[in-house]
């Protein structure tokens, strides 16, 4: 029963990955990677209840913190670099 939402979220991750590969600018790719990270965060929580293992929730918490710091660091770095690939 729980496999159907997992399958649909995996399809959505594949659709989002198209934007990571193709995306014309660098912020496009970062946004798509952020989306994949949040969707995978939901997948981890669903796996925690599928396997009945509570420590997966701690892993999901640390994953959310690392994702946030990742996006913030990349945004700040690009803001100071002023790089652009299409202009």
């Amino acid at each position: 029963m729980i496999y159907i939402p997992l399958f649909i979220i995996m399809c959505s991750i594949i659709l989002t990955f198209y934007r990571v590969v193709k995306g014309p600018t660098i912020p496009d790719r970062i946004t798509a990677a952020d989306s994949i990270g949040t969707q995978f965060f939901a997948v981890i929580i669903m796996l925690a209840f599928l396997f009945k293992a509570d420590f997966f929730l701690d892993i999901a918490m640390v994953y959310a913190v690392l994702l946030f710091v990742d996006i913030l660091v990349m945004a700040k770095y690009l803001e100071s670099k002023r790089v652009s690939d299409n202009d």
Partner: protein, 112 residues
């Protein structure tokens, strides 16, 4: 029984939010539309999945962890979206998609 039904409802709404994000990532045409779609509907989808398990779980520690993750996601997702939008604006990416730029009118002297 009620909790099972509520959990199913939140699960279906979360999956709909996620598939909306996936379709929006492909169909939308410029960066700011994609950022808008990704930030809002991703927050809604993750919150729906968290609520679905918060309703049906019966251990206090698990519910507390889920509430903590909900609050964290509600705080950090808009911050990340705002930082990305500001970076993209400063790099002048996708400038043709901005029809009316109120930010530049407000701060034209300090941006240079």
């Amino acid at each position: 029984m009620i909790s099972q039904l509520l959990s199913l409802y939140f699960m279906i709404s979360g999956v709909i939010f996620f598939i909306t994000t996936g379709i929006a990532m492909i169909r939308f045409s410029d960066f700011y539309s994609r950022l808008h779609a990704s930030s809002k509907s991703l927050t809604g989808g993750a919150l729906s999945i968290l609520l679905a398990y918060m309703v049906q779980s019966d251990k206090v520690a698990v519910i507390l962890k889920l509430i903590l993750m909900t609050l964290f996601l509600l705080i950090t997702s808009p911050i990340a979206a705002q930082a990305l939008a500001r970076t993209a604006y400063r790099q002048r990416c996708d400038r043709n998609s901005i029809h009316y730029d109120e930010y530049e009118l407000d701060s034209s002297d300090e941006l240079s």
